[in-house]
Symmetry: C2
Subunit: 666 residues, 2 copies
């Protein structure tokens, strides 16, 4: 164990206490949600169907992933020994569990949220947010358990690093596959359901006669909950691990030996306490769920900063590290605000896209692409300022701690993010079960609030990815034994280009996969309409499962090439061009992935909300030519913002982790 | 003068001879085109109108640019002395002349090509290709005169470099403004004319009743001829200048003192001779103009290689440099083939986009974006191989010489490229003047051939930009006195991000500018239809000039921000973060600009040809829902492939030049 001073063991109780506290609140929040009834027979049936199919998808996905995990684990154990291999597997399982728990709660919460919405917005908010809070806290708790276990098991810095990197590698690999697989599934089902259902058969969205409707609702869960859960868990682990490893060598002004190593875990613990505190401020007296979610977030941030101040005083001689945490929290919040500015219809850019749609779909697309590219400016400026300030405060450890500060809010961010797909599903269930219109109105209000606050999650994902990647790059260089990645050297510049290429090829495959899978689902829906008699009159039930199977298979097959691309490219560059060129490749992937990711996510978000703005009755409203043009943009934005865009954040970190794991062989 | 051996002055006659030879053939080819009649009264009138308005645009554009040139010249003369300043102005004027001459020939050739098409394809090909050859040779001749003058004027390496960089800076600045201004003009006029004319008034394309129809035809000239002329001239100058400066310090195996400095000019001279030879192979017996253009290109390449072999033997001890030239020629040709593979409807990708359009516009867009991203793979692989091999052969000088080898074909590439807009315009004139249908059929065949061969030009533009940029980066580092651009250092990584950001913001502004200007033109067309009575019956003539004025003004205003962004960003990074971080920024702009440029150009090209494939009668043909979906893609692709995409090649080189010019102040 790394602690050496007498009070070391004592302070560790803080972390243990926060783990125990969290486990209690995971159960409390979960119970609060489960208490709610699942409603009438129809609701129970539909909710159960979504639940069953979502779990079916996850089982299939995990089976495929397990194969990959076994292969990599064997390779790791041969090349690097058992520690890397074992912790890789544990990381992979943890990541899987994070996705599993998130989705399991979400598919139980959706129908309960619908039921609560029969009474009031506040009740529905309570159910959905409780589920989100339970998931968020579970994720962080699991991460803490993993990291504390490693820290207590190994006493040697080298072994510690090996175990931590292996663990992070496992988490990131599975996060990538979950994001890509889930992203392809959800968007393929979405587009496929609309293609034949809406356009050919002329039945409305969320109509239970559509064989792909359950797949569509399942998609919201596997993409937005399981995928995002794995994503945020990945951010949390990779950031914390990076800070811990850099902390091993950081001694400036540290009062306790090994303090800089343990400190990130304490901040994560503080974040949990702050989140539990904050969740109690998530309530709305009137009709403003958005305000309620924001209150919870703001209170959590403030409590965290207070706790971080105390902990910093205890661990360090000066407040430099404390300020890096503040930088992380402020930067994360600002990134959320910037994302909101470019993607919310309360601001001029999205309204501009909507106005361009009056001319047609083409101008809608041009405008949306342009806004996505424009949005990179604010994001990069904030990121660079955060990096510059935190680096100036405490070097690379400062940059890593800014990332940890940002990610200490992971639980509340996840709570807000998971809330979104739950209320989205709840609305679909209200529609399918034919409930009173005011139920759907209430869930729609909750959904709109979720759309705004989801921007926070996106900002955090991108910001933390950049901070972690920068710190990881330093780790890589140290492990590779290189003191420079000098892009004047031709091989390094070649590396830079190859690295920058990866996000493009990756996005290309993922985007195309969504299109291909959507067509397959559309064909199956068409087949069922033709061969199963009585579907249209409601006498016969469609075979929901076949659509799920098709979407699942497509997602599994199509995630292989982009997934392997990410893992194999750094290895090839390292083998053929050497460690420094590999460093160049990592830099290329970092910079190109961040920019492309921001552009894709924000173009997609802006198109989505331009459509919603028109649907609110602006510029002709639903059914107008302008509306049709915005639908084109929204559909293009779907794979951009939910499949390839967010995957790029994981891709960046995974690439650097792969390089760091295998670096000793180049 | 740099030569010191006895035979030095003698060999220089080779360059003089090639300049004189070129000037003769510039006149011969021009006369051959001018001999053709301008046809009947209607054709004369319309051709004259396009001619007049195109020149009007160029005058306005050059007035704005002159202002910029004066300001920069004053700043340069204060900061760096008169040499930089004077050659900057000369470079700017040369670039302007290149654009002017190109457009002047093109607007005279279009109507003559229409007239020749009355007789046969071969005659029309002769007229249009002669015009192209005259423009191509003129460009290279002017470049040679500028570079030889500098070389003979200064004897000191430092002064030589200052003059060459100043000259290149002038050329690149004006190339950027021409590309952006012309790109905005042409696409705004194109989209604006269609919006009201086709969609609202229901009159066909190229109908003389449309007030924006002349603006549209003028746009083809100012965008595709003047803009591209400046672009290719920029590639030629920047590549050659870079090779010459690096050649100053390159002495390995050089037989003649200063030989490595002069050698690039000899290769450019050889390229001219090869081009003159090659043009005589551009003829078609049957109906295959594409084959004729390709023949000309292949013969030129072969002759060039033979000449380069002889020259290399004379200048160097071994054949390393010769092989770098071969690498450049082969890489350029391969890049053209790759571009063709991803953007021609003879191959699966474009057909796939067309098939996706059966589902709708959204899938068309998704597929096109995906293919654009995918196409980066082949391009980057070829580029990296070219860089690796030429670097292995002769270091950075080898890389620069590969670029010169590629650009020695500039005259023939330009001839083929200028041919495109000429036959495009010729078709429009045939339509407007109501000529026999078979005339239009012939120009359409010529146009289709131009589309395929235009891919070669794009490949050359991207490839040479990357090679020049890499070599320039080395020059920058030397002048900045830095031996590394180490991206592990945080400020350098911040620079990398800022640099990579520039192409995104630049593209965002240019894309949006096209949309905004198009709407303004559409409003003017609508106004004229309302207020001028008798337009529709053909009794009153529309006011063509007002549309030209609007498009011109928009183009001028909207090119300011993106233009300044490119020039100011490197200066700011240098001032605030220092020379090494500026180096990082240059690397970032390079890698992000190349990738984004490839993606935009090829997505745009693929969409364009997917539409054309459907128009050929596939998947329902003209007027089908599939066709409408492909039109959306084509319109999105317009600013991608003709405004922002190709500008990025210039942007990259200009950024590095700005940094190199101002580096002494950081």
């Amino acid at each position: 164990m790394i602690f050496t001073t007498a009070d070391g063991d004592l302070t560790l109780y803080f972390v243990f206490a926060s783990i125990i506290l969290t486990s209690i609140f995971v159960i409390i929040f979960s119970r609060r949600m489960m208490k709610e009834s699942t409603g009438n027979k129809e609701m129970k049936h539909l909710g159960g169907l979504i639940h069953k199919c979502a779990m079916q998808f996850l089982r299939t996905e995990y089976m495929y992933i397990a194969l990959f995990v076994v292969v990599v684990a064997v390779i790791l154990s041969i090349l690097l020994g058992s520690i890397s291999s074992v912790w890789f597997v544990i990381g992979a399982i943890s990541s899987g569990l994070a996705g599993y728990y998130g989705m399991n709660r979400a598919v139980r919460a959706n129908v309960r949220c619908t039921n609560a919405a029969k009474r009031s917005i506040n009740e529905a908010l309570r159910v959905s947010f409780s589920a989100g809070a339970s998931v968020g806290l579970f994720l962080v708790m699991m991460g803490l358990i993993g990291l504390v276990s490693i820290s207590l098991l190994y006493n040697d810095a080298h072994l510690l690093e090996q175990a931590l990197i292996g663990y992070a590698f496992g988490v990131a690999s599975i996060a990538l596959f979950s994001r890509v697989g889930g992203g392809i599934f959800t968007k393929a089902a979405d587009v496929g359901a609309d293609l034949v259902g809406k356009l050919e058969a002329g039945i409305p969205e969320d109509d239970p006669r559509n064989p792909a409707v359950i797949a569509d609702n399942v998609g919201d869960n596997v993409g937005d909950t399981a995928g995002m859960g794995a994503d945020l868990f990945d951010s949390l682990i990779v950031n914390t691990v990076t800070a811990m490893i850099i902390g091993l060598g950081f001694t400036t002004g540290v009062k306790i030996t090994g303090g800089a190593y343990w400190f990130p875990l304490f901040i994560i613990g503080a974040g949990i306490i702050a989140t539990i505190f904050g969740t109690y401020f998530c309530r709305t007296k009137g009709n403003n769920p958005s305000k309620a979610l924001q209150n919870a977030f703001v209170v959590t941030s403030l409590v965290l900063i207070v706790l971080a101040f105390g902990l910093s005083k205890y661990f360090f001689d000066n407040l430099a590290i404390f300020w890096t945490i503040v930088v992380g929290v402020v930067a994360g919040t600002m990134l959320g605000k910037i994302t909101e500015y470019y993607t919310s219809y309360d601001f001029k850019h999205v309204q501009g896209i909507a106005k361009s749609s009056e001319i047609g779909a083409a101008t809608n697309i041009i405008h949306g692409l342009s806004i996505g590219m424009r949005s990179t400016f604010g994001v990069i400026v904030v990121l660079m300022l955060a990096i510059a300030v935190s680096f100036w405060l405490a070097g690379v450890y400062g940059v890593a701690m800014a990332g940890v500060g940002m990610l200490s809010l992971a639980a509340i961010v996840m709570a807000i993010d998971v809330y979104g797909p739950i209320v989205d599903n709840a609305g679909g269930l209200a529609e399918m079960a034919g409930l009173d219109k005011k139920v759907r109105d209430r869930t729609d209000k909750l959904d709109a609030a979720g759309n705004t606050t989801a921007a926070i999650g996106k900002g955090f994902a991108i910001g933390s990815a950049a901070l972690a990647a920068l710190a990881l790059l330093t780790l890589f260089a140290r492990d590779a034994g290189i003191t420079q990645i000098n892009i004047i050297k031709t091989p390094v510049l070649i590396g830079l280009f190859i690295g920058a290429l990866v996000p493009y090829i990756f996005s290309s495959y993922v985007m195309l996969a969504v299109g291909t899978a959507a067509v397959k689902i559309a064909e199956e829906v068409r087949r069922q309409f033709k061969t199963i008699k009585g579907i249209m009159t409601g006498k016969a039930q469609p075979q929901y499962e076949t659509c799920i199977v098709i979407a699942t298979k497509s997602a599994m097959v199509e995630m292989i090439i982009p997934g392997l691309l990410v893992i194999i490219t750094p290895i090839l560059v390292g083998v053929f061009l050497g460690a420094e060129a590999l460093g160049g490749a990592l830099g290329g992937t970092l910079v190109s992935g961040i920019l492309l990711g921001i552009q894709q996510s924000n173009s997609g978000g802006a198109w989505d909300n331009a459509k919603k703005w028109v649907e609110k009755g602006n510029l002709g409203g639903k059914g107008s030519a302008t509306h049709r043009a915005t639908i084109v943009g929204d559909t293009v934005g779907d794979p951009y913002k939910d499949s390839s865009g967010p995957s790029l954040n994981i891709l960046i970190k995974l690439t650097i982790l792969v390089a760091t794991v295998f670096v000793t062989f180049f």
